[in-house]
Symmetry: C2
Subunit: 362 residues, 2 copies
């Protein structure tokens, strides 16, 4: 199925010029937080001299931020990570010179952009000359159309769905996987996007396949999760059902991954769709209704809980927001990063625990 | 924007071995019914000796059906049309020899398969040697992400949406375009799939773009329709909102084309999703509710009428089915092929007619 790449053993420099503090750098943030590959430096001239902890305390890492590739080399990196996911996935002109410098210094380049490094004449030529590997994470394998095989899997499948993009769906899936493993359940995180693939070392960027094959790619991923003997599969969600640009991917993934349960992910305080100020987010109540109505039309699944991302709130406000969401919906609600995934996990855990389990993050 | 190809002047042989009578040959049926390129013969050994009218009376064409390319040559074709759209778009092995014979006979090859002729070493080599053109209709142009530009167009946009795939959405859009033109409105058919592109000579196969760009491709198409000064744009719909394999494309098109009104298309008597017997079609009432609910979350649009495809019913049964759908939904309902598009068109026609109009089918 999916192309697989080893994770573990890399020493990353994460390239995120002028953007490391923003949501746009979610690739860098995700890899720093969850990958077994170590990040040894971050490149952002605006923040040079600080540490990751200074900029984003929740990441709890003392990784230095530097101005450029030349400065990062003293941390003995093996790989340059393109740490930003700009909409449309194009390579900003300003990053090109840094990437070329990294190639000349012998670093592997890891990128999740739509615009492929291997198809860039200048970059691919320099990489060949320097003998370095280009890993375009988003290049999909050949996939088949959705067949219905996903309906027959014995694994319990839990998909995160969102009120918007970049709200914390991958993080929720990863944290729930950890919680399941901690409880002795054989859980597997199923990566559907570039950052998830970098973290887990396998997966398919479902937004990069040919449109007719979104559901087929999602199906291939849960079939692979089952083949890896996952008792519980936490599938990384994408986009939102009312995102005007990305909802096609959201719905193809919703049907193709054939979930048994959904976890709704929302960033507290966000009011409008990312990039479209004229489109309000749906309420939690509306989102639950719409996602469940769509699932009911193919394979029924209910929202089992809400992962509320309260990163931008003070702790007291966060607790109030969680309580408000709980009373609006009657569902388990928690911030899985701030307060841990256990409360939310209780809502999706298998009712009967198997004995003699073995766990695996990836 | 989209790659454009002249339509008109071709003399097609439509290749549909063993399948011409079935819905799988909808590409051939659509081109025969609506293209300004003439079809001079159909290849289907099972039906050789009959005419298209014998096989499919509603097409009303005395085109001969023959066994193979060799027999078709006496009708002086210019082009071979791959007239079948198999799920997944792969080239059946058995068709290869006929395609190669057509190439050797100097025919242009026109194909809407996902599997591209130009990427097939044997076919592309033979075509180069014979000096014939390969037109892979589904190859998309470079498109951008959805930007919101579609929200600002002055054209009135009408999208067909379906209860399933292959139910008559393209046909309904084409017939409504004709009705509008007959009424003096500057209407344009906006093609989103292979057959529509063959008919109109422009368009983008939105199921063939990279998944993240479905809505962007749809937006590019309506922007182009407006640029062509379409007062009324009839956008060809794709798939169905609860088709497990294709709904991602359906939703991306629903948002990206930013419709002002929807026409729901349903084939009378169909009960389950094409290829998935375990998934029932939604009722007309449920479909209207779901499509309108999704539109309301991005740009509101209502279902203005129902195009009921009654091809498989006797006329009296067809009239009863239309009346039943009308009383179930309270909307205008008609079979636009059997009884003409005028009744349905009345529901979507611009309220104020412009004077000094000029019409264009493409």
């Amino acid at each position: 199925m999916a192309r697989t790449f080893e994770a573990g053993g890399r020493r990353y420099v994460a390239l995120a010029p002028e953007l490391f503090a923003s949501t746009a750098a979610k690739t860098a943030h995700g890899v720093i937080a969850y990958s077994s590959d170590e990040t040894v430096a971050v490149i952002d001239p605006d923040l040079a001299g600080k540490s990751v902890r200074d900029v984003l305390p929740y990441l709890e890492r003392d990784i230095p931020v530097v101005s450029n590739v030349a400065e990062a080399l003293r941390f003995r990196p093996t790989s340059l990570l393109v740490g930003v996911a700009p909409p449309g996935g194009k390579l900003p002109v300003a990053w090109r010179s840094e990437i070329l410098r990294a190639i000349d210094a012998g670093l592997e380049i890891v990128s999740g952009l739509h615009e492929l490094l291997e198809e860039d004449p200048e970059i691919s030529k320099r990489a060949t000359a320097a003998g370095v590997r280009l890993w375009d994470v988003r290049v999909p394998p050949k996939v088949e159309l959705f067949s219905g095989a996903a309906f027959a899997l014995e694994s319990r499948i839990v998909l995160t769905v969102g009120s918007d993009c970049a709200s914390g769906k991958m993080t929720a899936s990863l944290e729930l996987t950890r919680a399941a493993m901690a409880g002795g359940t054989r859980a597997i995180f199923v990566p559907t996007g570039q950052t998830g693939i970098m973290i887990a070392g396998w997966g398919i960027a479902v937004d990069r396949v040919i449109a007719d094959f979104i559901s087929g790619a999602a199906e291939a991923l849960v079939v692979e999760g089952a083949r890896r003997r996952g008792e519980l599969l936490f599938v990384e969600g994408q986009g939102s059902i009312n995102h005007p640009a990305f909802a096609g991917v959201t719905l193809g993934l919703l049907y193709g991954s054939a979930p048994d349960a959904l976890i709704l992910v929302h960033e507290a305080g966000r009011r409008t769709i990312n990039g479209f100020d004229q489109i309000p987010l749906l309420s939690l109540h509306e989102l639950i209704g719409l996602y469940e109505e769509l699932c009911a039309a193919v394979k029924p699944a209910k929202v089992a809980g809400i992962a509320l991302n309260t990163r931008k709130l003070a702790e007291a406000d966060a607790r109030r927001a969680i309580e408000a969401a709980r009373s609006e919906t009657g569902l388990p609600v928690d911030d899985v990063v701030r307060f841990g995934p256990q409360a939310l996990y209780a809502g999706v855990a298998p009712k009967v625990r198997k004995t003699a389990v073995k766990s695996s993050v990836r």
